[in-house]
Every structure is written in C-alpha cells, then in structure tokens.
C-alpha cells in the first residue's frame, strides 16, 4: 500500500480558532482503517479537542504502540511529530520523550491488545509514575490488526465473530488505572463525541497521568451480537455518570444555574472542570468511591462512562524527580559538562 496524500485545500470560510488554525490544520493523513471503525471517530474527537483548545499543532507529540488503534496518530495532527513505536511499549517511549522535553503535550494512543495484553506492565508503570500525558486506549476487545483474536479486555462469555466464547476474566483498564494512581480517569464511547471531546480537552489540560478508556467497536471483528464491545451493546448498557463542561481558564467561567447538581474541579493550569451530575451520588474526586462504583455497575452489566476520577492536587514525574524547568534537549555543555577543572580535582581524589 502506498502513501495517500490528503488534499489540502483550505476552504476560505472554514472557521479559525483563536490562534488562526482551521480544523483541517489538525487533521492528518487519510485513514486506512475500515469504514465505520470506532477508532476513526475517536481521531475526529481528538482533532476537535485540539482545535477547540487552540493548541499549536506542533506543541503536541503523539505516540502509539502497534495495532489499528496505534496507527491513528498518523491520521490526526499532521504537523505534529508522531512516533509509532513497538507493540505494547508506547508508555516507556512516551515517558522518555516527556523527560527530554517537558514543554510539549504528550498524547499516547493505544489499543486494548497493546495496553492490556502485551503492554500491561508498561501501562501499569506509566500510571504509577504520574507521567504528564493523555493516554487514550481505543478499546475494542479484539486484536483488530491481526484479525480478530480476543484481547485481554474481552469480557468473559463474550463471543468472537466465529462464535467462540471467551473464558478468561477481563482486564478492566479503568479500575487498574485508578488502582495504580492515575490522577484523571475517564471512560467514554467512540460514538459519543459530545461526551468524548470535553473529556479529551480536560485530559489535555490535566497535569499528570490522564487516562481515557474509549470503547471503540471493531466493525470487522467485534460488532456482532454476543460481543460486549459492539455499538448496540454499549449504547444499551451505557450509564453516564456525569456530563462535563470544560471551561478554559481564559474564558469567563459560566454560571451554572443548577448549582446543586454541579461540581467544579480546578486544574493546575487555571482551567475548571464542571461536572453536571447525572447520577446524584457520584463524587469524581473520591478514588475509592469511584472504584467501588465502577465495580458495582460492572457487576450489573453496565458500562459506566464519564469522568470517573480527577485529583485536584497533582504532581507529575518531573515534580517527583525535581527536574529543571527547561527542556533537557535545550541544555548544552555549559549546563551539563562539569569541565576540566572539576575533573582534575576528581583525579586528585582518586589516588
């Protein structure tokens, strides 16, 4: 297959964001995924979120593993640097990249095979470390790219396209992320752009490990009756915990008249998350309650979506390591090399 150039004709009436970019400027190559693949809908939401946030495209670094899902960074943010790494190891590469330049925004894209099967270890440790990133898991319950084998997120009892039932217990990445210390944890559905775009925007503004598990049906291998990751199944079993308004700090904060039903969470960069609670008792700032809530609904066969947890006070890996404020890749010999005089002194102490 060869590279498909995307026509780059700018329609003069396309709306510009505050920094003068059209939505087109956030697009990438033409997708080579199957028509109707949930992953493409997620890409559209990511593009929308970046455009709405007025992020200069090159300030984002997008990294992924291997899989249909991991191909998608090529289909968005064409002016950004991207890195399609190896299967299951995007988190370590993203961690290293983040250490090298703390000034960029890191977007990690992965699949359920990539994150919950081969890459479960790296998934766990990147959450533990609190790497400042937005980690999108495009969860279809199968290995799309290798043609429909079960992944570790497939629910026990769900059926493959060939009718084989999965007997292994599923890995619930949202519960895991909560357990391992992620400071922003959400779940959404590829077909629910209205919910997903604000979730992505808030995740991008969050400092620390932000994780969004996006159920994303694979139309080729996992969208049939008996699959628990199909469009129909998710629509029927979706239980949204909240509706999110993401308010950028630069805009006047909306007055929400339904005060009693809203929770505001201030983020480090001055942005404010306002959560309109659909489920009255839900408190997204309580990690333990969130885990309990998810498990309870899971037992009842419900897929809980929305912002499940966000920590108000966060620190990222750079804070833990007390690293300099400037990107490492801008430091030169002056800051890094102790020089000859220091070496002579050291030599003298080694005799």
């Amino acid at each position: 297959m060869t590279y498909l150039a995307k026509p780059r004709l700018h329609h003069p009436t396309l709306p510009l964001n505050k920094i003068g970019f059209t939505r087109r400027d956030y697009e990438g190559q033409i997708s080579t995924l199957c028509a109707g693949c949930g992953h493409d809908s997620i890409s559209a939401s990511l593009i929308q979120a970046c455009w709405e946030l007025d992020i200069e495209p090159h300030r984002i670094a997008k990294l992924s593993g291997i899989g249909c899902s991991s191909k998608t960074p090529d289909y968005l943010l064409g002016n950004s640097h991207g890195f399609n790494t190896v299967h299951g190891r995007m988190p370590s590469v993203l961690t290293g990249a983040n250490l090298a330049n703390r000034d960029l925004i890191y977007l990690g894209v992965s699949g359920d095979g990539d994150s919950a099967s081969i890459g479960l270890g790296q998934f766990a440790h990147v959450m533990r470390r609190g790497v400042n990133m937005t980690y999108i898991l495009e969860n279809n319950g199968v290995y799309g790219l290798t043609k429909g084998q079960f992944s570790a997120t497939a629910d026990a009892g769900s059926k493959s396209k060939r009718g084989v039932a999965n007997t292994d217990a599923p890995v619930d990445t949202v519960s895991l992320a909560l357990l391992l210390g992620a400071t922003y944890v959400a779940r959404s559905f590829s077909g629910d752009k209205k919910q997903l775009v604000p979730l992505v925007k808030a995740a991008l503004a969050h400092r620390g490990a932000a994780f969004i598990d996006v159920v994303s049906p694979c139309v080729a291998f996992n969208n049939h009756v008996g699959s628990t990751k199909s469009y129909d199944y998710v629509r029927e079993h979706n239980d949204a915990v909240n509706r999110l308004d993401f308010i950028s700090g630069r805009e006047p904060i909306h007055v929400d008249y339904a005060e009693g039903e809203a929770v505001s969470v201030a983020q480090h960069d001055g942005t404010v998350l306002r959560l309109r609670k659909i489920d009255r008792g839900y408190d997204p700032t309580n990690r333990i309650a969130a885990m309990h809530y998810i498990q309870q609904h899971q037992a009842a066969g419900e897929v809980v979506t929305g912002l499940l947890f966000v920590a108000a006070e966060t620190e990222d890996l750079h804070a833990h390591l007390n690293t300099a404020d400037v990107p490492f890749n801008t430091l030169g010999a002056k800051q890094l090399c102790p020089g000859r005089a220091a070496l002579d002194k050291l030599n003298a102490s080694l005799r």
Partner: protein, 632 residues
C-alpha cells in the same frame, strides 16, 4: 584455647618464595562479613607506597554467607592483568579452605585464624603456614558480635602490614580519610590495626619472603572502577536521561551516575536537577525510555548486561531502523542465560553487533580500562547523535566492577557536544527542503528535527515500518532497498568516526600478529613481553570499535597468521572479522578464554607459544615456552 604455633620456615619442603613488589595475595572471605573495606585498605596502602596493584573481586551471586575472594596483584612493573596463582593466601573462610590451599604456589604462604586447632592433614608441607588467633583476640577485646567480626578484619590487616613490610602509617592515613568526620569510629579502628601489628611483630616471623618496598611507580595514575568512570563519561558527555533496571555487573553504572549527577548536575541557583534517572520496571522499559528521550533530542543512555540486552533487542531494531540515537553500556558477564552473573566474559559481541531481527548492524566500542570507559561513554553519546543509531559501550565485569589503575581522566574544555544533523526552526523557515530520510550529504546520515520545532514544517511520523525519503509509509521494494542501502552507507561513515585501533609493534619484524580488545588489554601487554623474552615476536592490534577500519584489514593482510584473543567460547570477534570485514578465516587463529575468570598473561603466553610451536616455525630466538598455566 591454646593456639597452634607458627611453623618454622625450615619445615617447608619447597623453598619459600622471595619477592619484592611482585606477588599475588588472595583473601578468602565470607560474603557480608565486612572484609571488603579492610581488603581495600590493604590494596590502597600498597598503592600509596608507590607500587602498582590490581585488585579483583571474585564474588558470588549472593548477599550474605557464600564465599567471596579479593585478589590483589602487586606488580612494580605495572602489570595489571590477573596473573594466576596465589603467593599468599589469607584464608578466612573454612568453607573454601581446601580449594584455597590448593591455589597457593609451591613455596607460597598461608595466613589463617588458628583459634581452633586444625588437623595436620588440613595443611600442605610445601608452603609456609602463619597462624594467628584472630577469633580469640576478638573475643578477648570486644563484646559486641558485630565488632568482633569487623575488627577481626582490621586486626589481620595490621598483622599483614607487619608481615609484608607495609607502612602502617599509610593504612592509618587511609583509615583517617575513611572516617573523616566520624572520629568516634577512627580510634577503635586504629587500635585494632595496632593490635594486629603488635601481635605479628612479637609472635610471627616478620617480614616473610614477600615484601612491599616503597617506590615511585604509580605516578599520577588514578584508581577507579570502570563503571564509575563510564558513568562520569555520561555526565561529561551530556546525558540527561538515564533509564535502567538493576542487573549485575552493570547496576553500579546507574548508581554512580546518580552520585555524579548529585555532585555536578544540580543547578546551584534553582536547586533543580539537570538530569532524570528512572529505575524502570524492566529492560524493555529502560530502553524504551532511552529511545523516547533520544527521539526528543535529549542525550540518554541505559546500562545493562546480557539478559537485559536480550530483552532490549526489539527496541534496538526500532532505533536502528527509525534512526534514533541510543547509548547502551553493556557490562558483560558470563552467559548464556543467567550464566555466571558475577563472572566476566566478552561474550555479547555478536548479540550486540547484530541485535534485533532483520538486517541490522550496530556500532560497538571496546574500552580497555576505566579511562576508556570514561572516554567511550562520552564518545558514544556524540556518535549516537551523529549517526542517529544505537551505540554500545562494550565493557565487562572485570573492568566495570574492579578498581583499576589508569591514566588520569582528561577533558578538553573546548570540546562541544556533537549533536549531529538537526534542522532548526530557522533553517526550516529559510525554505530548506526537509526529508527525514534524505541523504543530502552522501554520507547516509539524514537530517532530523526535534519534535516541537516548527508549527507547520519539519514534522514527521516516526515508525518502525518501511518509509520513503520523506518518512511516508511505503512497502514498495525499491523504496525499501533505497532506504536500507543508505543505512549501509551510514555504517561505512561510522568507520571514520569511531576510535581507531591501537598498534603495539614488536621489537623486531614479526610474521605473527595478535588482535585483542577490551579487558584483555593488560594481560595481552604482559604476554607480549613474556613472548618476546622467549623469542616470539608478535605485533599486536587492539581493536577499539566495530565497524572495523581498514587498519584492521591491513594488519591481518600483513601477517601470515593472526591470533585473535577473546574471552568467549565461540570466537565472536573472529566471526565478525570474517563476516563483516571479509577477512580470510584461514589467517585467523582464535585464542579463547571463557571460564569466567579474567584472562591471564600466562594463558596467552602459553597458548601462543604452543601454537607457534605447532605451526612448526622457528622463532628468532629459541627458548622454553610458557610456564604451566593455572588459570586456563
């Protein structure tokens, strides 16, 4: 408890060894008994007397309880390789008594704790036995069991100083430096030292036939472990990101890097770190982090050993194919598998040269000592950036985990980091054509941009799949071939950039050559001299890098036979020479040492001697060949 009287020298059946500044002392201890610091004091005090030494830790994969040895070669001539054989055994471990006694050279000496009597059958009659009631003395002087153990080491140190004529003032001075600021600990240590010395002088025949005499043969050389030096090289070379996973014998690289960074890399004004060190969850992650940091324009390295290299190989292939700078310090140990984790080998040469699936080749550097560990680590960071590829510093346990005398470390303040071909925002703005994999200069090295450089130009998608010159995905055959041919050109370019081999010419024209590398160096140098004394003249070439330069090819071509001396079973460097430099295998004769102990001059001398004799050529001078080799 009555202690056994020291035997009279007259009862020894072999003539007691006599040597000044040229002997081997081996300490047999129990791991975790606190002997290490006393033994190091012993070694350093001789160094302070101006006599070169080379100590070696021979330790088990264990924290406490198993046997451990510390071998000190004293050599006024400056031979720093392992000699083989032991002249004085300090036998402090009953578990290994029999084996330790076997190792003593005829006429050698045994020093032991005679608090408990041992049957006569436990001794040899061709050595001098020196007993001292160490446990008894400790029981009489200390109540705390920890003190009894620790001061026992210092007491035997005191006794040895008297037996060998070591200046006790030097030891006291070193103890003073060690306990600077902890004066409470200083006094009892000095007392224990004196107690040992007094006993030896009163009750033992001092000095014995082995003696240390003050000289001025150390010069300005420094004494440092290869791993600490490599870590310092990473600091000087500008590494900011270090990701690692603990594994012997490489862990002390990352640990030393941490120490050096705390000393040199904390910004004085802000108190913030100009470094980031992450202990990763495994080697897959440590190399992944290094790849990510390298991609993003920071200098990054990892340190590991064989099993870690095996885990890293998928990423190494990615870095090769996606052209990302990566520095890997491989402190080699005995393989395969977990192998001999605390023993030394040079057995990862092929695994690293061709690491990963598909057609891959990587740059390797072979440091000979801590000084080169320092230099090669700094050079590797430059080379990785210049060549946009993984670069391996191939050290080993022998260099890495032992303190070694070497020339002082040097740095030229005019040196700038070679960041390689990086296109800047200004260059992009000026309209320069940017193709990530375009061979603009004909050297196979393309230009890259750091992520975040420009809002609309110079962005590209990095991948492990095939791509065209503009980084666009392609599986077209010609596009693939074009790309991998350029990678070969790049590897050619590397030849001019890596350290050149070092020639040690024989005194007289020689038909034989020897190629060697890395930690074999001191043993080889010593062997060359021993061979010359036997009338066997050999030109020697120390290879310092892969890919090999023309010098290596020419060297082989100008000798009828070339011995390739390595510390592995399968002649891995020879394989590379044949495979990659196209050298005729018939002209290469492997000399292989791979039992996990460092190669010795005795081994090399006897092997080359034997082979020269077998080749049926008459050496220029005739002479007896080789002593028997104990280390083979």
């Amino acid at each position: 408890m009555p202690h056994q009287k020291t035997r009279k020298e007259g009862s020894v059946s072999a003539k007691p060894l006599q040597a000044v500044n040229d002997f081997v002392v081996k300490f047999a201890n129990i791991n975790g008994s606190g002997s290490a610091s006393a033994n190091e004091l012993f070694a350093r005090s001789i160094l302070r007397m101006g006599v070169p030494i080379s100590p070696r830790n021979i330790f088990p994969s264990n924290i406490q309880g198993l046997p451990t040895w510390y071998e000190v070669r004293v050599s006024e001539s400056g031979w720093l390789g392992r000699r083989g054989g032991v002249d004085l055994m300090v036998a402090m471990n009953p578990q290994t008594w029999d084996k330790d006694l076997q190792e003593i050279e005829p006429g050698g000496y045994l020093f032991y704790d005679n608090s408990k009597p041992l049957p006569r059958s436990k001794f040899r009659d061709d050595i001098t036995v020196i007993g001292m009631p160490l446990t008894e003395m400790c029981n009489a002087n200390y109540t705390d069991s920890r003190e009894k153990q620790l001061f026992k080491n210092i007491i035997y140190l005191g006794a040895l100083s008297a037996l060998l004529g070591i200046d006790a003032g030097e030891i006291a001075q070193l103890i003073g430096e060690q306990y600077k600021g902890k004066e409470k600990l200083l006094k009892p240590n000095l007392n224990a030292l004196q107690m040992g010395r007094d006993f030896a002088r009163a009750k033992l025949a001092c000095p014995i036939g082995l003696r240390v005499e003050r000289r001025d043969s150390v010069g300005d050389r420094i004494f440092i472990e290869g791993n600490a030096a490599a870590a310092l090289g990473c600091v000087y070379g500008g590494a900011t990101v270090c990701a690692w996973y603990p594994i012997t014998p490489s862990s002390s690289v990352a640990e030393a890097f941490t120490r050096w960074c705390q000393k040199f890399r904390v910004d004085a004004a802000s108190g913030k770190n100009n470094f980031a060190i992450v202990q990763a969850e495994d080697e897959l992650a440590s190399i992944g982090m290094v790849v990510g940091a390298g991609w993003n324009g920071a200098r990054a390295f990892t340190a590991t050993s064989g099993p870690g290299i095996s885990l890293m190989t998928e990423f190494i292939g990615l870095a090769y194919f996606a052209e990302i700078p990566v520095t890997i310090i491989n402190v080699q140990r005995g393989g395969p598998s977990t192998g001999m984790p605390t023993r030394t080998q040079q057995a990862d040469i092929i695994a690293c040269a061709y690491a990963s699936h598909g057609d891959t080749k990587h740059v390797l550097l072979f440091p000979e000592d801590p000084k080169e560990c320092f230099e090669h680590a700094a050079a590797a960071l430059d080379l990785a950036d210049r060549l946009q590829t993984p670069v391996f510093v191939m050290t080993d346990l022998d260099i890495g985990m032992n303190q070694r005398l070497c020339a002082p470390l040097e740095w030229d303040d005019r040196r700038v980091f070679d960041r390689g071909k990086v296109m800047t925002r200004e260059e992009l703005d000026s309209g320069k054509d940017f193709g990530r994999f375009l061979d603009v200069d004909g050297d196979g090295i393309p230009y890259r941009t750091y992520p975040g450089t420009h809002p609309t130009r110079g962005g590209f998608f990095t991948r492990g799949t095939t791509k065209d010159r503009y980084a666009r995905y392609s599986e077209e055959g010609p596009v693939y071939v074009d790309n991998v041919q350029r990678l070969l050109r790049k590897f050619e370019t590397a030849k001019a950039l890596v350290p050149k081999p070092v020639l040690t010419p024989a005194k007289y024209p020689a038909r034989f050559g020897a190629i060697y590398f890395g930690s074999t160096s001191p043993a080889m140098q010593e062997a060359l001299e021993a061979l010359a004394e036997l009338g066997i003249y050999v030109n020697a070439l120390r290879v310092r890098a892969f890919p090999f330069q023309d010098e290596v090819f020419d060297f082989v071509a100008s000798h009828s036979k070339v011995f390739v001396v390595e510390q592995n079973r399968d002649a891995q460097l020879k394989t590379l020479l044949v495979n990659d430099a196209g050298i005729n295998p018939a002209s290469l004769i492997p000399i292989l040492h791979y039992d996990g102990t460092p190669i010795t001059a005795r081994f090399i001398t006897s092997e080359i001697g034997r082979l020269v004799a077998a080749l049926n050529v008459r050496p220029i001078k005739t002479g007896k060949i080789g002593k028997t080799d104990k280390a083979a």
